[in-house]
Symmetry: C2
Subunit: 305 residues, 2 copies
């Protein structure tokens, strides 16, 4: 099966501590790496997880708060220093691009390292369309403009039934169309329905990253039908009164979003430093979500297949 | 005795690794903290060493390379988040100030945290003059404008000899002058030399921070007579041919500077990742310097007294 994994590089909120690093994940889709958020220390975590800088071509920043962004200058400096070739595209808001340009101008004078800046908006839309994968933004509800990212594997081709292909003497030139779902019309004009010639394609996998946000059912609508959702759970319900004013969610609210979206798997993270037991977050989310719950921790790899 | 210590937060070169963090030190002078350089991860190291953010009022940046600067945005964001009150002064080059202003504007919108920017020049001069301490810059010889920092305890007052003060019936109002070295003139006009009334003050301690620089005797002249010198030793002599072109020094060259400056103690650091045995740096420096040699390591505290 083609690889689709999430590596957790950091899952704490606000500042780095001995327990948690600030937000950073890496999506490994068929050995291409897509980083989401880049808190301070991300480059060191990247190295610790033995990921390859040469495979990293896209970095997505959900919003311009330090714990999601400030690892980026150091990571880019290191990439520039090693100059692995190729380009890297940074998807972020305009003010973030302005700052990065300025930093790179001062700190990476001598490099030919190639950075492409892709300005994003806090709206819904496809921002990356590759051969087998799309990435969409959708709005989140935080204190500054913030988006989530939805990674969708494109629909896969149907499997040919060798016996039937042979039986109907279907020419090779026709096979790509059959894989795409077309019926076959014999030289005599008879229609052989596709369902007789193929079996179902493997399902396409999707992953939604939701951080940071207060609880909003609109988020569940935007990611409806997703397989796996990462949703921030900064607080437990004992601090629910703090959550919305600060643009954050509780673990129970994260579970509700996963349930409403029809997800089968929920990853939790962005834990407040006020708690020293991550297991409580999963326990609380289980009261509102009956699927698989995975509390993020640094170094964790989640297989999405 | 009044405290004067150096804490090593990071002593590697270029990028953070599992063995070393990029450059950062904290001078603790009588419980006021002065940070020198601020590589990525400095705020986490600061916390790990149980230093107090509320005691940190000055940060000195030797030059605008990422491994000496890029921990600053994160550290300042954290300080802004905790808003411990008081001000912090950043001593750095103009381009660094421009970047910090821009970053703070975007990432620390909601804070009243007070930052003072002090623009420095790559020349010799006193940049901080406090009650009991001065900090001077002096030029280093790297690929971009770079300075070292020389911390000098101000001359201390002489100790009064109680027996002699009593014997000569010296009025209390005169004592501050006697401590400063004045002679005493009796009502009869007789001069009592200060040497009979006082004993020597404790010596004033000084500390020079030299990173990053190629080997230059001018550096030794600028810090002549210093007690303890930190001098970068990126390479061993096997790579001496790389050192000067890259604006760096070998451990043997660091030892020569310490010898020429007449220092009694040498701290080594800024080790290249190419070496995996820090002890070799001290062994090599010992061939050119006969004083105490301290290889820096993260978490090390050096007492300068």
């Amino acid at each position: 099966m083609a690889k689709f994994q999430i590596d957790i590089l950091g899952c704490g909120s606000a500042t780095p501590t001995d327990r948690h690093m600030p937000s950073c994940q890496v999506v490994n889709f068929r050995d291409s790496l897509y980083m989401i958020d880049c808190g301070e220390g991300a480059q060191l975590q990247f190295r610790r997880m033995r990921l390859k800088f040469s495979r990293l071509n896209h970095i997505f920043i959900s919003h311009l708060h330090g714990d999601h962004f400030l690892g980026l200058p150091g990571l880019l400096s290191t990439l520039a220093l090693h100059d692995t070739g190729g380009t890297i595209t940074i998807h972020t808001f305009r003010e973030g691009i302005d700052i990065l340009r300025k930093i790179m101008k001062v700190f990476c004078r001598d490099t030919s390292f190639d950075i492409v800046y892709d300005e994003i908006e806090p709206t819904r839309g496809i921002i990356l369309d590759e051969k087998a994968l799309t990435v969409e933004t959708f709005p989140l509800y935080h204190r500054v403009p913030t988006v989530g990212f939805l990674f969708r594997e494109k629909p896969k081709k149907r499997h040919l039934r060798g016996d039937m292909i042979k039986f109907h003497n279907i020419p090779i030139a026709q096979l790509p169309h059959i894989k795409d779902g077309a019926d076959f019309i014999t030289p005599e004009g008879k229609v052989i329905p596709n369902a007789l010639l193929t079996t179902d394609a493997e399902p396409s996998i999707s992953y939604a990253y939701c951080s940071d946000t207060m609880f909003k059912p609109a988020v569940a609508e935007d990611i409806a039908g997703v397989d796996t959702v990462y949703h921030e759970s900064t607080y437990l319900s004992d601090n629910e009164h703090k959550a919305a004013p600060r643009g954050h969610s509780t673990a129970a609210q994260a579970g509700r979003i996963a349930t409403m979206a029809g997800a089968r798997r929920l990853i939790l993270g962005h834990y407040s430093q006020a708690y020293d037991d991550d297991a409580s977050f999963a326990a609380e989310a289980a009261t509102t979500f009956s699927g698989t719950i995975i509390p993020a921790t640094e170094g964790l790899r989640v297989d999405l297949l």
